[in-house]
Amino acid sequence: MENLKALAYELREDVIDIIMSGKAGHIGGDMSVMEILTELYFDQMNVGPANMDDPDRDKFVMSKGHSVEAYYAVLAKKGFFDRGDLVANFSKFGSKYIGHPNNKLPGIEMNSGSLGHGLPVCVGMALAGKMNGQDYRVYTVMGDGEVAEGSVWEGAMAASHYKLDNLCAVVDRNRLQISGNTEDVMAHDDLHERFGSFGWHVIDVADGNDIDQLKEAFEEAKTIKGKPTMVIANTVKGKGSSVMENKANWHHKVPNEEELAQIRKDLKERKEALR
């Protein structure tokens, strides 16, 4: 298998290129979610440009749509579209690479951007699989600030009611949102208990930026029958460079030249250390 740990850092470098070209992007969440997307797209899901018309393909919805640069980088690496075209045109006038996912681009199932939509949509996707007797799996990734949206809990209630064990949701628990610490903005440190009380199987991933730990969680989720699984991935916002890590003001920020040089250096070093 490909070295996914190093790949996650290579994709972070792509994210930097995308953001520097578009002069915009939600960089902090892009960096925290990268291993989650990498493990899903390059190990767990049977999704690729060749099978997007296959009704049995696994389904993914990027509920935290603002981390679109990470998502685009992954999709380009999967071959859904050209990396150079993406980097050159991201967020530019008339571009198809909008600042949130849109399904006019190959590889993207659903448009997102407004939070709290992915999980309920995935309930519908998982329900369709159950109704049709198909065995595809459905995945979504939410931000931790996103769980304040009431619609998340409507979806959570329905997912356990319909015993959707083909549904696996992930919370990118980086503990920071645009206004600061999630526990100050709207506390939910007992997220495990909350989803558990909604009838979900809940897995805590101590290091949500560790491919091995994520793989273990997703493999466990596949064995759970009769209920959906929530993976709470404890990640680091801005993961990859000390310039950004655990700093709320990097929710969406474009690095200046000095920061950029340091970020590129850090990412390269960490990538090479993993090779």
Binding site: M125, L127, A128, H161
Partner: protein, 317 residues
Amino acid sequence: MGKIANKQVICDVLVEAGKKDKDIVALCSDSRGSASFTGFANELPEQFVETGIAEQNLVSISAGLAKCGKKPYAASPACFLSTRSYEQCKVDVAYSNTNVKLIGISGGVSYGALGMSHHSAQDIAAMCAVPNMRVYLPSDRLQTECLMKELIKDEKPAYIRVGRNAVDDVYEEGNVPFEMDRATVVREGTDVAIIACGEMVKPSVEAAELLKEKGISAAVVDMYCVKPLDEEAVIKAASGAKAVITVEEHAPYGGLGSMVSQVVGCNCPKKVLNIALPDAPVITGTSKEVFDYYGMNGGGIAKKAEEILGCLRQSEQ
């Protein structure tokens, strides 16, 4: 006289279609009784999804089902479906272009004395403002059947609003003129063109009858397809009359009246009078009492037509 409500016709069409096509799915938000979808739930339980009282979830689940090949029909009171789940309709249905048909039941002031929380006087404006969303308000059970049989064939989003109770037929059984996305000219006329939608078409026809007795020739256009608005029909009717009246069970802003006014103002300017609910919580009462109070009945519409024609005569003198 129509014996069954338009919403019941929708259910009946879906049950028949659902028996042949297992991908047709009906969803309700604890609204199967009020939507008259109990028949579907009982006859095709494997194709029925209950979401509980969660309208946002109702729409998002429908979108997810549609993305995976299902053909969902989400039925919930129009007041909740159109505004409580507005963003889900906008993003998950219209923007993501999923084949979801949104059935707004008990629309307008169907719920009468239950008050403004239960009235949907904003749904036409709200839904028409969303790109890729079609908006239909059929006028009677016969047209509802024609519309649903057409909608079943396509794979695009749509919002369909119907009322709670059975309404009088506009058309004759076995002889329903219907062309998808084209307004139906119920009767021709040269003095005033009455353009109405939904359950306001029947009182418009009654108004035309009353006007005829007074020697006034009124056209009645059934604009069941509010979006895409049949602009050609609007221009033709307006061009052939001295004034235009629109009638809708909706707030005075952003609905059929606004849309018709845009088309008339741009293409064939003349006086347009919009008969609608007030920009206020409506008076307490049954829907009939409400309509009578605001002049949204045959007599009220006829009176307005006479007034507007009288104004025109005065200004000519």
